[in-house]
Amino acid sequence: MNYLRPELLDALARSHALGTLSPGAARRFARVVAGSAVAAQAVADWQGVLQTLEQGAPRASEPRPRVWEGVQQRLFERTPAPAGDARGRRVSAGAFAGWLRWPVGLAAGALLSWSVLVLRPQAFDLEAASGAAPASYVGVLQDPQGHALLATTARRHGNVLTVRLLRPVAIEPGHALTVWAWSDADPAPRRVGSWTTAGQTSTVALPAPAEALLGKMTHLGLSNEADGAVPGSPTRPFIAEGACAKVW
């Protein structure tokens, strides 16, 4: 189905903004929106129309202080994830805890990613046209000792992930280095791409535009997976992790 046909897109965007799509249809259309600037704009336009109706809405009583306290508790006083959950197979539970713990790890990673891309665009063979880096998803992944191991970049609407090893990484015979992405809201890692070439810089074809793959992701991980039948989720420990930052 061509969701971007104007009449259909307008109807879907209207229903999506209003909240009347069925859960399944809403999930399918959300994926379309994540990968299409036209669809995202159509939804945003309808959200803008709907927001005008707020002008007639009554005020409720203020939220009680416990709401803000609960937000802080959930975000900043988190206990370690229990073993065996979606993130449990990572080697990182103890080793990464010191630097990766949200939000410091993400903030530091995002800042590092931004610095690398903007200050050293040549590191990714990106031209610095008009002095500004193009809109990209960027990651700098660190090993458990905190050393930068891998830099990644993908143009926001591009289909290629450029990866650059910042330290030597041995690729075991019959294996492929594989980049994974996940978000705090959905911590199950999703495969982004794999490569087997040993060079310092490689380009990895993405199965979908970077916007669709990485738009909601906050973290990246690197593992050394058996080549050939790369599974849907990592089978080996992560050898590096870092923030997935949007630079635009």
Binding site: P58, A60, P103, A185
Partner: protein, 198 residues
């Protein structure tokens, strides 16, 4: 805690969101203080239950912390983005806990729907107030009362088309058409005043 915000504050909201994306807790608290009252009202309207509305508000701000970097100023105002997060979370919760909501109100579902759809009840009044404040009374006056009621029930209280049909005792297809026509009219009226994208 001061909680009010208005459209003129959108520059502040956008700046705070950008800082939250980098892990700035102070900006996060500023955003909460400025918007939580308005957003609480959005959740309460849909759920009609204070505890559940506060649960939604808490979930929404956790999501805002994690996804502030996805806010794109080119697509719309930050308050629109925030309202959308809260409203959709409230609708999800309402639909998943409809039995509990019915119990909380001590009424069966049909009585509750009928009360929402009664002439002059909250949603229709809220819509009329909004229409007056936006200044599109004449344009929106071409809608029938049923069309306005259907739009108000879906937007303000997050009813499904099926619930609207039951509340207004109309066939499902008719209820869908009322909502669609109401929204299309609203957009056309706003476009006529330069308040919506053409």
């Amino acid at each position: 805690m001061a909680n009010r915000t208005d459209p003129s504050d959108n520059d502040d909201l956008a700046r705070w969101l950008a800082r939250i994306a980098l892990g700035d807790r102070q900006a996060f608290e500023q955003l909460y203080r400025a918007t939580s009252g308005t957003l609480m009202s959005v959740a309460w309207r849909v759920l009609q239950h204070r505890d559940l509305a506060e649960e939604v508000l808490q979930d929404a701000f956790v999501k805002v912390w994690h996804s502030a970097g996805t806010y794109d100023a080119r697509l719309g105002l930050p308050m629109t983005w925030l309202i959308n997060i809260v409203r959709h979370r409230a609708i999800d919760l309402r639909r998943s806990r409809s039995a509990a909501l019915v119990s909380a109100h001590g009424q069966d579902d049909s009585e509750r729907l009928a009360a929402m759809a009664a002439p002059g009840a909250g949603p229709e009044q809220w819509l009329d107030t909004a229409i007056q404040r936006i200044g599109v009374q004449e344009c929106m006056g071409q809608l029938t009362s049923a069309q306005r009621q259907a739009l108000a029930l879906v937007y303000y209280q997050g009813l499904t088309h099926v619930e609207v049909a039951r509340a207004l005792e109309a066939p499902l297809g008719t209820a869908k058409a009322w909502v669609r026509r109401g929204l299309d009219y609203l957009r056309t009226c706003l476009q006529g005043r330069g308040m919506a994208a053409s």
